[in-house]
């Protein structure tokens, strides 16, 4: 399933004294099997953009096409679409409401009208995906969990609908490093199993580790789009967008400034290590 935005502009409270344009003429396409990272400074319109991808927001002008079909057309079932394009909002743990974790995760599949045994199977699968032990946590109140566990339970609530595209708005915001790694590991697994993923993130290191494509936004427009290597090579543009580059790319640049003959486009710790080791073996001074 591909999702395409064509010249999408979104203005909040259009026509009132408080109107503000959050997206300006944005065009982009998300293909099957990609892991897209959406980055940009706070308030540049990332959350607004992702809410267009499953029809929760309507563009003020322009189109959202899912498999070539206009999402806001008259005969499109947007509720059904939202089950194929799962959206995890920022701080999703604030949406938990049921008595037990299992019931809360079952909310989505139940809205889909699935039979009970299928709902149960999906709850188990979703909990396994987010590494929450079914036996231990299914019967607990979601409000008794720790912050990281609540976050994972909430993500499981969207996963249980088994969407083919999963969109996450800053899924690691406010978590400790351990909680963050669990979520990122889980996303990596999901992507490997064939789910298309769109992740909003502020951590260039996470982006470097996971994404197959990076879309950089700047005040309502798409500034750059390409593989992490292409994007992180544009250090000036990234700095201007207030983002910077991954730590490995920064280190690489600092070493180059001091005369170490490293290639310019390295951005992961592993490839930087390889390059430095190679230089060392060749007996270059470093």
């Amino acid at each position: 399933m591909s999702i395409e935005l064509r010249n999408v502009t979104h203005t909040y409270s259009a026509g009132s004294a408080f109107q503000s344009t959050a997206l300006r003429d944005v065009s982009l396409k998300i293909e099957d099997g990609e892991f897209v990272a959406l980055v940009g400074h706070t308030g540049c319109g990332k959350s607004t953009l992702v809410q267009h991808l499953n029809g929760l927001l309507k563009p003020t002008s322009g189109q959202v096409l899912v498999d070539g079909e206009d999402l806001n057309g008259a005969n499109v079932n947007r509720r059904e679409l939202r089950q194929r394009v799962g959206l995890v909002f920022q701080y999703p743990e604030y949406q938990l409401f049921e008595e037990t974790v299992a019931k809360d995760i079952a909310f989505g599949p139940r809205n889909q009208g699935l039979p009970e045994d299928e709902i149960d199977a999906r709850v188990r699968r979703a909990m396994a995906h987010v590494h929450l032990d079914y036996g231990k946590y299914a019967g607990r109140s979601p409000f008794e969990l720790s912050g990281g566990q609540m976050r994972r339970a909430a993500i499981a609530g969207v996963l249980a609908m088994e969407p083919s595209t999963l969109i996450l708005d800053e899924p690691t915001a406010g978590l400790d490093p351990h909680g963050r790694d669990r979520i990122l590991g889980m996303l990596q697994e999901l992507h490997r199993d064939g789910t298309t993923i769109v992740m909003v993130s502020h951590s260039m290191d996470d982006v470097a580790k996971l994404a197959t494509r990076v879309i950089v936004m700047d005040t309502g427009t798409v500034l750059l789009s390409g593989t992490p290597r292409e994007v992180f090579a544009q250090r000036e543009a990234m700095d201007k967008a207030g983002l910077g580059v991954p730590a490995a790319a920064r280190l690489c640049a600092a070493l180059r400034e001091r005369g170490v003959k490293l290639p310019s486009e390295l951005y992961t710790p592993d490839e930087l290590r390889e390059a430095i080791l190679r230089l060392w073996k060749e007996g270059q001074p470093c």
Binding site: Y12, S13, S16, A17, Q51, N54, L56, R79, R82, Q83, G86, L87, V88, F89, P92, Y94, Q95, L96, F97, F107, G108, N111, Q112, F143, G157, V158, M161
Partner: protein, 272 residues
């Protein structure tokens, strides 16, 4: 989704009316409302309407904003008019058709009561359009502070009011966000019968209450961390001071009330 609801309808522009002392504005609004109840003729109502219109222009607030404030009350206005129109017991009969009787007294009452209600709402709207909620609660606190002698909790009331006002937009945002998040999980808030819809509110209301309590707890903690301990001995950041504009505004309202009274004496019975 929720953007057609506006609470705290402050219209943020600069004008001489916005700059008036909130205490003065509150008192003058009360005076204006009392004046409306002294009116007994079409000329009097025209005077009030003219006054409201002029003030509106001076405040740089579009007159239709004032009319918009009437919209939620339209059924009450209609009801007031209709009830008074049909249920006057005496007076000359103007129209009689089957069981419907319209008397002159009924028509007059209907006009009086609905016009009074209309101007009452317009007057208070003008106050809230030109006074920010914070100024409003500051003004109320100062006006109520003499009552502290009889242990009336003026400061606490004003503080509760400003906090409540402060959190309305936050809670609206939160509602919007939670609603969208549950819709992303296939929730349906828009179709089904009454019971289905009430049930559909649970996934919205539970997180909303949880978050409201969390926010209240956080706020209480933050206030205590900054040594808040009630109104005793508290000085204020915005000291309210009466200015020349306040004098002019008071004179204008006094003038209006004078005109209404004179008009009532000169033309008793008015022009109806």
């Amino acid at each position: 989704m929720l953007n057609n609801i506006t609470i705290g309808q402050y219209y943020p522009v600069k004008s001489c009316i916005h700059d008036l002392d909130p205490r003065v504005k509150i008192l003058l609004t009360i005076a204006l409302i009392v004046a409306v109840f002294l009116v007994h003729s079409a000329i009097g109502y025209a005077l009030v309407l003219g006054f409201l219109y002029l003030t509106c222009r001076l405040a740089h607030v579009p007159f239709r904003m004032l009319l918009k404030g009437l919209k939620p009350l339209r059924w009450i206005l209609v009801l007031t008019f209709v009830l008074n129109l049909f249920f006057a017991a005496d007076g000359d009969i103007l129209l009689q058709w089957q069981f419907i009787t319209i008397r002159k007294q009924g028509l007059l009452n209907a006009l009086h009561y609905s016009l009074r209600l209309l101007f009452l709402v317009m007057g208070t709207s003008l106050l809230t359009l030109t006074t920010s909620p914070i100024q409003l609660s500051d003004g109320m606190e100062m006006l109520m502070s003499p009552l502290k002698v009889i242990h009336f909790p003026a400061h606490e009331l004003a503080m509760m009011m400003s906090i409540a006002l402060r959190f309305i937009p936050t809670l609206m945002d939160e509602t919007d966000k939670i609603m969208k998040a549950q819709m992303a999980r296939g929730a349906d808030f828009e179709s089904g019968n009454l019971i289905a819809r009430a049930k559909a509110m649970v996934p919205l209301l539970v997180p909303l209450f949880v978050s409201a309590f969390r926010r209240a707890g956080d706020l209480a903690m933050a206030m205590e961390a900054r040594c808040y301990h009630g109104g005793e001995g508290r000085t204020r950041l915005r000291v309210l001071k009466l200015g020349r504009g306040d004098l002019w505004a008071s004179l204008a309202v006094a003038g209006l009330i004078g005109l209404i009274i004179v008009e009532g004496i000169v033309l008793p019975g008015g022009l109806w």
